[in-house]
Symmetry: C2
Subunit: 373 residues, 2 copies
């Protein structure tokens, strides 16, 4: 069920692991690239490549042909530049330019995504000759980073070295909302004012929503990592991660016994439970907890669901294995948390959050195992 | 407001940081030690010392006199042994003994907290002479790790080298529950059967609840790190962590504009907002998000509350700074997330979770700054 090659006995038996399938990642990059042609496909790899590891992810996507990368801040940009040294990549810093740090952008050849006059003024003082390219970000209704659209004419009159003009969609996954199309319309107006430089507005949800969002460049994040696997049919996205954790104890409990902190779950009849070595310190949301009044999340053992009983605690989750035949499940066996029975979208729905939060919050205590073939 | 010494300009200006006050940590250890005398005070430093860093935390607490440490699993035990090399410390592995890994417990001199016959049988095959000490864990109603109490007589007949007998309290912070006292009674019965070896049942909440829980050893976790700061008066616990993040853009938005993903917050009047460079990828819970129907969390700027507007996103949180005088708040200024205006307990209440989850989920993207004096 799990590949055991290339791992020592101790690594196999002792702790939770996240398996990251770099082939599936490359396949996803290729599928999206193909789907958006002739638009270019960049990659959003901020937040340590959504928790999967900046180094391995960026290398894989580079080898698949990607040459434009979006990270969140200066530190991530420097880390990427130090690890992916090919001179032919462009690294965009989404958070823009921080005060007193402009020399680092130059030193590491990083392209700030500038979205305020303050940043722009600083940049212009620094780069009087317009040598270093920048990206310009317009806020078309998200009320987050980016210039107010009323500033478009003024900024277009500056002699800037603009490598990309961009905006970001607030709710591209909401099929009934008209806001994404309104944002796109506004953005296209701005592009005209700038005499149509290279433009980009689509994240994963927007690139799936409609081809009109593709423009010159799309910049998917979550779909590269296997998100939206079930949510659309236009584009095949493969699962990239599996998460497993070992059973550290199996026990029988009597009807009426309570399980875990706060004693919020009381057994309705005699049960067999397994204690799994993973918890909220590893990134398993406490919102997967269950009580007698409220269903929680579930894990899987060889295809069978094993519901979570009581509260998820720091290092341990208790699951119900009463329906699994005695002696077919043992201490040391691994339980599927994310895998072929439960993808990141299913798990995040049960946790009342989004796949992005699940991935980015998986803690460093979980071993990462990269699968190369 | 924040100590700026020993940091480079880039470090000051660019990214969120967690300041960990090691003096306060040592003071908390000393206060608890004093409070529980003549009981011994161990330290629970699992989950990377609740996210604060195993190395710095264990060294500080060792220097304050601690000689017994509890970690969660074998990997944490090895890491602690490699970093805190003094031969006079005992390292307990709470998750017990994993299959096929017993040689590592011996090699690194780690004491497994054994809670099942399976583990015990393996250990006895390995250590026929009862040379290596173990801890024995009884489940007194938590339905988590530990032997069923009915096994006490049987186990007491084995010739074991028991360094500690322990149990764990399910809901010691619930003042009206009688369960903690029932668990203690059961545990004391078991201790008698074992002819009173060294015993321990109290976590932070139990050691505050009543001195009868102190027994031979207490093993606080969260109270060392500043949790329960406001919840009790018997014991002075100092705050240990501060969390700050920088403003990357300030902007004005018009009445009716929506903020962030899903557009769940619409401005009720013209507002000034600041975009703060921290998000759920860093460990800020999405449950702090606000909408027009639901209050969210808040951060602070120089003592003034700045409510979160809309959804917490991966790398950015928008806050309302309309009440802060214009020109007294700027891009590059730092916003307090945890500090003198909002401690970890306040923040976690607003996020509908517990301080433990907040601390353990702060991501590695946040710089840790240790304050030594």
């Amino acid at each position: 069920m799990m590949p055991k090659d290339n791992r020592t006995m101790r690594e196999i038996d002792c702790s939770a692991f996240l398996e990251i399938d770099l082939c599936a990642l490359a396949d996803n990059y290729n599928s999206i690239s193909e789907y958006v042609k002739p638009s270019l496909c960049a990659a959003t790899i901020k937040a340590n490549a959504y928790g999967l590891g900046l180094e391995a992810v960026s290398k894989t996507i580079y080898d698949a042909g990607c040459r434009s990368f979006f990270v969140s801040d200066l530190d991530e940009g420097i880390r990427l530049r130090e690890n992916l040294t090919s001179p032919d990549i462009t690294i965009y810093i989404l958070n823009g330019l921080m005060p007193h740090s402009i020399e680092y952008y130059k030193k590491y050849n990083l392209t700030p995504v500038i979205g305020s006059l303050e940043e722009l003024d600083e940049y212009r003082v620094f780069d009087k000759q317009n040598i270093y390219p920048i990206a310009i970000h317009f806020d078309t209704g998200f009320s987050r980073l980016g210039f107010d659209i009323t500033l478009a004419s003024k900024i277009s009159e500056y002699k800037l070295n603009i490598s990309l003009i961009m905006s970001h969609i607030a709710s591209a996954e909401e099929k009934l909302s008209e806001m994404p199309e309104n944002q796109l319309d506004q953005f296209l107006q701005i592009c005209k004012i700038f005499n149509n430089p290279k433009s980009s507005i689509a994240n994963s949800a927007a690139l799936i929503r409609n081809k009109s969002f593709h423009l010159d460049m799309v910049r998917p994040g979550i779909s590269l990592y296997g998100g939206y696997e079930n949510l659309q049919s236009k584009l095949q996205v493969k699962p990239v991660v599996k998460l497993y954790a070992p059973i550290i104890q199996i026990k029988k409990i009597k009807k009426g016994a309570t399980i875990g902190y706060g004693a919020i779950y009381k057994a309705t009849h005699d049960k067999a439970i397994a204690l799994v070595s993973i918890g909220y310190a590893d990134g398993i949301p406490r919102s997967l907890s269950s009580s007698n009044d409220e269903m929680g999340g579930q894990f899987y053992y060889e295809g069978q669901p094993t519901p979570i009983l009581g509260r998820v605690s720091m290092d341990i989750v208790a699951i119900d294995i009463s329906d699994i035949p005695y002696n077919t499940i043992n201490r040391g066996n691994f339980i599927e948390i994310i895998g072929s029975n439960q993808n990141i979208d299913n798990l995040s729905e049960n946790a009342d959050t989004i796949s992005y939060e699940i991935l980015t919050r998986l803690n460093s205590r979980i071993r990462k195992i990269y699968k190369y073939a």
